[in-house]
Amino acid sequence: MKTISAVMAVLASAVMVCLVALPAGGQAPQTAQVTQLELAKLMVEMSGLTRFLPSNPSAADYTGLLMNNGIVPANGWVADQAVTRADLARVVLQATHQANNVPDPTNPQSWIDYAVNQGIRVDTIGLATKPLEPLAMPVGPTMFSASANSGKKPPTTVPSGDVQYGAVMQPIRAMFEPIFNPNTPTASNRGARI
């Protein structure tokens, strides 16, 4: 039984290595029928960033959120461009905080090789994103939500003050709403805070 398992494991590894070692003409091969926008949506979900999206997110909402967390393919996010294995390796390594360990970041194959060495299977989107987990220090949108579209406004309060682990900043509204009254007797030396 052990022998059969070992043979199966060796065969599986060999098949995987063959797939990884197939860049044609220096170009990383493309995974089938998956666009970068689909990958971006999956990356947002797997990285625990969904809660930072508005309820009707656009493609730019997905890609901008990922860019703010340092997750971006070599040539940027292009919504309907097919995903390459190099880009897949890159964004997964970025999302797992391993991007700075890639020996030759300018070489797409280097990303693939490093990912494979880390046990990340970049053959398919599903396999590659398997090791992803919510980011420990996600960077969400700032409180300066500009849109007049009420569907895009985030909650106004941040109870613990650190919903985003980029730079922590209180929403403006949380500073002195609602109790602040400029004419209260104590207002000259005391403000209010949520």
Binding site: R51, N56, V78, A136, F144, A148, Y165, A167, P182
Partner: protein, 404 residues
Amino acid sequence: MNKNLLIMAGVVFGGSLSWGLGADSLIQVQNGFRFQWNDNYYQAATNKTSSGIITEAPEVMANFNRENTFFGLHYRPSFMWFTNPSIVRRETVQHELDVNWNQTLSSRVQTSINESLRRGVQPEMLDRNNGLVFPDQSYYENTLNGTLGIQLRESTRLDGSARYYLMHYDADAVGTNANYMLFSGGLALRQELSKATTISGSFNYDRAEYSQIMARSASTMSMGAGVDHTFGPRLLGSVSGGYQLKSFDLTSINGQNSPYGSFSVTYLFDPRIRMTAGASYSLWEADITNYASQERLSSFASVGYDVSSRVSLFASGGITRGKYRADQSVIAGDVVLQGADQTTMTNTQVVDGLDTVYQLSVRLSYQLNRHNYLDFGYAYTTVSSDLRPTFAQNTYDIGWRITF
């Protein structure tokens, strides 16, 4: 033996984390522990109240991912202890709950429901004579969004959204002016012009209802258009603009029609350095309770820099300016409410004025290993205002975050 025990414990722990959600699901537990020093907790001009704040915040995140269904859950209670004995309620707890459900109903129709609940139990404050300076500011804030998206054509999408928002303070002294509900509905039509450019048009209707102070209740209609454009691999930009019509329930308060607009850009200097900046102008809920509305102009910039594989640096700055009009005072004539209980009446003039908030924040994050992070932060806030006393506040914090 010890090794076996460790393995057993690991298996049991891991198994408990992935309980019931299957192979494509993920539950992650994190824990944050932070000490913060705030030199002006109550945002006072003088007689500042400083305090150390110890925060313990466990966090649970769950993702349930299937071909047509995504369900995400995030819950974080924050237990806070204040070291300053002049703060009456020195132990507080805050809750944050976020639930996201995305469902693909067919190849052309998707729906999503997003729920965010915040519950804060806030400190009160007594002055030296044991008098109440600030009442209990404990609150519930709930946001429920629902969206139905229809892919009309390959490059055309229509989103219908609805939103229910509730802000409720426990104490009457606070809630009288500030408890309100917001009902919103809107349509957004998006058309992809090219690989890099998407245009959109939107219509929104908002209805704000304050439970006890009718003067702040209002209805707003917004119509506008926007463009998202990818300028290149490293530059992403969005711009939108339109017109808003706001009317108040009280006919004595002048309604207001105003253009609105916003833009933001995200730029990657190189893969390790990224920047987002933007600005907006629009009508907004008033932050100062004597007024029914404000015209808000805000601008911001944020930079993230991965210094090394272990060290990341973040910095953000922003300026927000609110313009308030005397003819939108919620107080009849020259009479304004005074006192923490908001019951004393005097004849103080309500004037036109500007209120400007400046913020700066820096954070350094150090990854000890795959599961442990240290972070160091500093934030500065100051206010310049025609309508209220100014203040400055500095906070310093050091935190430890562990992921399991």
